[in-house]
Symmetry: C3
Subunit: 440 residues, 3 copies
């Protein structure tokens, strides 16, 4: 393929010096010169730009997590997150995409295992509107691929600072390659959640409050239970807070996540439709900002100080809280959806600390708890069926929890999941990677 | 609203397996399938992408400001900036948008106070080209909302390291909710500045050198005068420089601001028009780069060393300097507009230090002084009316200064605006937020 | 030019309250209302967005380089990189663009020296499809301008921590203003590489594995040879590793480079063509991820530890490795192209250290070695002519090496290229810039 062949023929004709094509165009050229073609290219471009924005969220997660954890575990966190995005895109290519969007089911609506993406390389269907009138096969693939690793990234934050690296890498790979696309197929791949009430009362989860975020949050919860808390956090004399090592880095992370969410939610419109994308940008931003303000106010009252980490988690809580209904909830109601999430996240973080579930970055609260809230919020404010929402939440969260618990427990039996005490005390950077994150 | 209803009907028709729709389309479907519709969707998408880019500028400001200030005040700065964007978007929703673009005036051309955005929820006008042939109501809203908090962010930099947090949050909220949209309405909301010379000699300020940047700069100046300089900066033995705590962070901030400016200026074209947006990208980039080179050269000569902070301020000076005329000044002249700003900013920073106006990040110089220069530059190089430019500058800067001075002074009387000396010495992070920014 | 005049007339007509224009449109308005016009605007916008993404790569380079080098040279690195982008855009405006894409040759196909860009200001050709049916003159300019400084940035990384600032700035300016566009003109400016085999066996380098990256890599190699290694790295008792100062910063840099590459490669499609851009996004991402995984595995085996710096270089190796063939190599084969690059980069970095070529960030390996590999990969997997690829690589790398060696050697004779030992030991930040990067 050359650059020339990429340029639509009608453009080349235009280049001949006249604004109106002189030669009789072929059938395909007629499409290329048509408004439908340009709409197709525009929609497709937006999906691709959204994919790039979602990619950036992985830098956001890496920054947020390493900023909120201790200095001595920074390299470990950055390494995990670098691995996760690389592994996530490639496993999605090898197995995930066709598991997520099955062409045939092993168990109808429940289980499918797909082969590599792009099964028919070189066919027009991979590149043109024959695959989908809104975008190409590969645009669809890359957008979804960027989402795929998110589940593992959420877990990464919760198990940080004491998980054994090889064990985590194996866990993350299986989770992303197998479990995430199976759960997703129930909703997005025409599985049983999309068929509730004969399709009329289908589970509604626009961009994945449940099938991405709560899935990750409950996988994280399972892993933290298997793994146990960091040494020295819950002592006989009470909770000993572990301070974040780098709050500017955490702030960069949270803002990049906010930015990336415009692609996460905005791209989930699956077109550049003016009405759809505009709505989603507005509800997404309003919910994020309401989440931050509500979280600032709540934590100021409860913790008696203006807490930056909480403010950042408030943005994320609001964002997770609107993800299921970003297209269905009105701007005004998105303030409520986000605001409630911002309040919830404070109490949830305090609650999990009370029951000694040690989650260094608050991932279970932000993604798990607010993911559930966001999914219910579409029933309250966006017209979704409440029962179906509950069924979807229960199905996905139970599956994420059980699958993760079983897998992580098996890994624990086989090779261990936790570094030894000396290593934890020294920090994983020097112990596992042989280099501290910050040096002279 | 479901995903299906967002997908244009014509796309769904296409999906039936043929490239040409078979059924007789409705009137609306005809629009959807037309080139006009695709142009509308394209313009709208660019406004939205620009909004995302302007959002990123708030991370730029947060990074720049915390990088240029002292380590002990980092959390405070990041907290302020997180609050500002959340508050800015929400107040713009509640009151700002309809004050900025009034439908009716209390005092014709001078004063209007609007209600919440989206007054007629659910009407087609909020989402379709009935509102505006170029973009949707909500795209307009979110793009402008991202701008709104900028004024407060500029002030934040100038008052950093000694301002009392609650006092600043109150000040910033009133400034962004009330004063900024009022000043903006004079120019963008068909107010008196847009009517100068019966509209033929209107004040010209493309993306806001005056109504955004100089507005913020003069609000900052007023606050700094009320607040006073940081302890220990201006001593009997002369100026004692306070070193920036994290120059990589400041550099990240300046580059993100440069990036975001492509949306700030580029989105202000208010369409994806090829001629308009291309011009604006080029003049914006050339002015920024000329500003940096001019500032590097000037500061190297004057300060006798290659100064990184000055180089970063040079980019920003050039950017502010082209903002008023990015669409009206030729590429060659944009080098002059940006270059002059880059020289100006050095002398301005030195000048304000000389008169003991303590501005930790140079916000008054970058935004105030270069904002004025940029507005005049459109008269010199872009055909704007010189007198109108001067009137606009005077009106907006005076209003920003007087409003801010009065408001901040009242807050000072009521609750104080400055932390006590012990707190300032210890740093606001530990004193107000209970946590340092960097920990082991 | 006013905002009004930028808005296409057909949009204004639409605003009159009807969806169909009532008045008889002019010839130009007919174009504006046509699908061809919208396609033109869409393509143009994607070029501009890509330019913004490539701009962000300069922040990526600055972050990566300063993160991988020592703390005491951080300001120097950030200053160099700030200068480079400012200088690069402006020299490209003054001379580079018309040297890169010559209208006439001094030596046919080999040498041209151009004048300033936009030779005919104000003509329609600068803004409309008269210049090019796919995008405007100025969109073309700004996209290419953002690329131009890359060559110097690559060199910057290799010579870091001991190069004399003014000498480097002079070298970088001449390299970017003269040598880079000359080498590029051979391929992209219809020079001799584009004519190999009468054009039928032309050198193929889609987005610049050779003409951007290997060019930079071989320029870097020449400079490092002239400059010599950092003191204390290669000792009698063997190699003494110099630790990276800030790995979160380096990670931010690598991820931003990955993100920017979607514009670097994606924008090189030179249109928003759905098939072209989708392909390029997928091959780019898959190669980057395969590069990272291969590099992680290889370095884990060879260095016996999970190495974060290597993981980051693995992403970049994969990206450089796919750049020449991102549009021509299939998704599956892009995994091979990227994966091989990820393996290569490990051995290359070890090799250059063995022969005492001191390259603090691995720029010669990532850009030089993987640039060559990527160019050959298009012959293996993308149908390019092997002989032409070899000729192109030899021509460009030889020219980059010889030009850089000669220029840098002359500068060495005239003013020296290396700081003195005391300055190197103290660090360039305090010695040359008078301020450390991190302060209390």
């Amino acid at each position: 393929m050359t650059i020339k062949s990429i340029l639509p023929a009608s453009l080349l004709l235009l280049g001949a010096g006249t604004l109106l094509a002189a030669d009789e165009p072929t059938e395909y050229e007629k499409f290329e010169g048509s408004a439908e073609y340009v709409k197709f290219a525009l929609n497709n471009l937006w999906i691709l730009i959204s994919a790039a924005l979602v990619f950036l969220m992985h830098l956001g997660f890496a920054s947020l997590e390493s900023g909120l954890c201790q200095r001595k575990n920074t390299v470990n966190i950055l390494f995990k997150n670098s691995f996760i995005i690389a592994m996530g895109v490639i496993t999605y290519f090898v197995i995930g995409f066709n598991t997520h969007y099955p062409s045939e089911w092993l168990i109808d609506g429940v289980l499918a295992i797909g082969g590599p993406a792009g099964a028919e390389p070189g066919t027009a269907a991979n590149f043109t509107s024959e695959y989908n009138p809104g975008y190409t096969y590969w645009a669809d693939f890359i957008f979804q691929a960027m989402f795929a690793a998110t589940a593992a990234t959420i877990v990464s934050g919760a198990v940080a600072e004491r998980v054994k690296l090889p064990s985590f890498l194996i866990f993350a790979t299986v989770l992303v390659a197998i479990a995430y696309p199976i759960a997703g197929s129930w909703h997005w791949g025409t599985g049983f959640l999309s068929r509730l009430g004969g399709g009329d009362a289908a589970f509604y989860d626009f961009a994945g409050s449940t099938v991405v975020h709560a899935f990750g949050g409950f996988a994280a919860l399972a892993c933290v239970i298997v793994l146990g808390p960091r040494k020295g956090k819950y002592t006989k004399s009470g909770l000993k807070p572990i301070l974040p090592s780098n709050l500017p880095l955490a702030t960069i992370g949270a803002f990049l996540l906010f930015l990336g969410w415009f692609g996460f939610n905005g791209g989930s419109v699956l077109s550049a439709d003016a009405q759809g994308v505009s709505t989603v940008f507005v509800t997404t931003a309003l919910a994020a900002c309401a989440g931050a303000l509500a979280c600032i106010a709540t934590s100021w009252i409860v913790l008696k100080k203006p807490d930056l980490s909480m403010a950042l988690n408030g943005f994320l809580a609001g964002l997770v809280g609107i993800t299921a209904g970003a297209d269905a909830i009105s701007p005004s109601m998105s303030l409520v959806a986000g605001g409630v999430a911002g309040v919830l996240v404070v109490f949830s973080i305090l609650f999990f600390d009370k029951i000694k579930i040690d989650d260094p970055v608050g991932a279970i609260s932000v993604h798990g708890v607010c993911g559930i809230w966001g999914t219910l919020a579409v029933a309250f404010f966006g017209g979704a069926n409440f029962t179906s929402q509950v069924i979807g939440i229960l199905a996905v969260c139970t599956f994420a929890f059980v699958f993760s618990f079983a897998l992580f427990y098996v890994i624990k039996l086989v090779m261990g999941v936790r570094v030894d005490e000396a290593e934890e005390a020294e920090g994983l950077d020097v112990a596992e990677h042989g280099v501290p994150a910050y040096n002279p």
